[in-house]
Amino acid sequence: MDRRISIFILLAFVLVALPGGLALLGGGYWFRVVTTIGVFSVLTMSANLVTGTTGLMSLGHAGFYGIGAYTAALLATQLHWPFFLTLPAAGLVTAAIGILLALPTMRLIGIYFAVATLGLGEIIHVSLLNWVSFTRGPMGIAAIPGISIEGLFSASDIVNYYAVALVAVAAMVVLGRLTHSYYGNALRAVREDDQCASSMGLNVVSLKIQSFAVACFFAGVAGGLWAHTTGYISPADFRFSESILILAMMVVGGLGSLPGAILGAIILLGLPEVLRPIGDYRMIVVGAVMFLSILFLPRGLLGETSVLTVVRKQFGLAWDKNLNLGWRQ
């Protein structure tokens, strides 16, 4: 298939077919589910840049998601900023805080980095919970204005859907271009062997910080979207279990693969909805799917290598012998 046709089909599905189908299904509840999947797709794709591509297992992603959500919510309720200002602001603030918090931990590798990010995530959660004068603590922030522009459109399910879908597509394009490039190859080199990458002349610490900052930016934007689409946030939305959920989505979809991240979000959020008639087994499903996928599909459903081949064929340059350019086979 031609690359343009693939993109066209993808956009047509996301922007026309999916909302149309949902509206036919009756909207409301299903829009809510799909919006949540969209927000978590952005989160999982961003975490994937750090964990999958750069190889630094992050167990505190929900904390940064929380910073983004609280930034957007506070700017919108206290200063009455519109959503098109709060979303980028949420991303930038989260990226700045992320860099500040992560700077000292960037020397760590492997399990030590995972534990340090777990600690950071919990520090953020405890601060959101206890800094009552600033975040209103466990009561959360209510009545966050929805996504609306006066005179153009007002907050509704379909507007929420389009906002989330557009951000998700934008995140996918940016992160896709970032990872499927020479820059992405440098990040993968850091993942495979950071000492070797360093001896080849890559600035490993700087690469780690850059990928962490980009991931935090998108986590913050996802948090802002969550705040604006739900209208109410509380620290309970940004606990360790959310970080685990994001990690499980990456593992199920396949570490290091963007389509895998979205597929993981669809499976882990969609499956509990489908199974709802049997009872609320959300987290059991998450645990079981995660366990089975580590056991039987260590590469995930769309593992990076197979996904890379697909992407190369559909979207990227194949290795061109004449130009000496593109992907190495």
Binding site: M57, P104, T105, R107, L108, I109, G110, I111, Y112, A114, V115, A116, L118, G119, L120, E122, I123, V126, S127, L129, N130, F240, S241, I244, L247, A248, V251, Y281, M283, I284, V286, G287, A288, M290, F291, I294, L295, P298
Partner: protein, 304 residues
Amino acid sequence: MFDTFFVQQLVNGLSVGLIYALMAIGFTLIFGVLNVVNFAHGEVYMIGAFAGLLAITQLSPPLFVVILIALAAGALAGFGLERLAFRPFRRFRDEASLKSKAIREATLLSSLAVSIIVRELAEKIFGSNMQPIPQEYLLLSPVQIGPLTFANGQFLIFGLSLVMLGGLHWLLKHTRTGMAIRAVANNPIGAAYVGINTERTIIATFVIGSTLGAAAGIVVGLYQGAIFPAMGFAPGVKAFVAMVMGGLSSIGGAVICALILGVSEAVTTSFFAQGWGDLVAYVFLVITLIFFPTGLFGGGRERV
């Protein structure tokens, strides 16, 4: 003269710290032998507490028997955990793959997944609220010594922890199993060459570590009057912090750091609101990782 309030907080902190120490030893033993982190350790603690609670509500035996039942449940849980979450990923026997990054991350994720399943199943069966505990089993009756007031649970915690720590020391230094554990922790291939059954030793490690964790669970459950499915998370993370602070494979270091952690938490909560006490452990963790990456008591370990 000393300040009564301060001494009381110190004793409270030490008893919490001993609990963290019991859990941290489980982490440390398993990390020493397999070089992996067992994220389901908090759930073993929860299983110990629930096994004791079930024994109380069904049979109402004396306290001593309740603790024994919790210990047995912990041993069983450790065995099952090893079979379920760790064994399937040990497909190869050479040292490189036994301690490789892939195995570490796979077992990290699998133990995390098992812990989620166990915790959620417990919530399905028992509900996520705190369980009612019969009054006569609560370890909260006050004991007056001079101007100081202690709960009798604190004496139990001190006594039990000291007995278990002493027992562990004896086990590791003077029995064949203990020596096998230390040998495998030192060099798994070498241990296999001299005829040690590594598989059995790994199981023994999990059983011992989980027994200590389950003991901590039931004692804390009765002392704090709080037994609920998610009870294992907070102490689990703090014991983990103690292990990292102690240098990952040093049992003595982990115990000392657990005590430091418990006391600092007690002191913090007496100056600030209760909720900020949880922050202490995480701040310690981040500070340790930044300034002492190999832990306060760790020797020259690999790169962190």
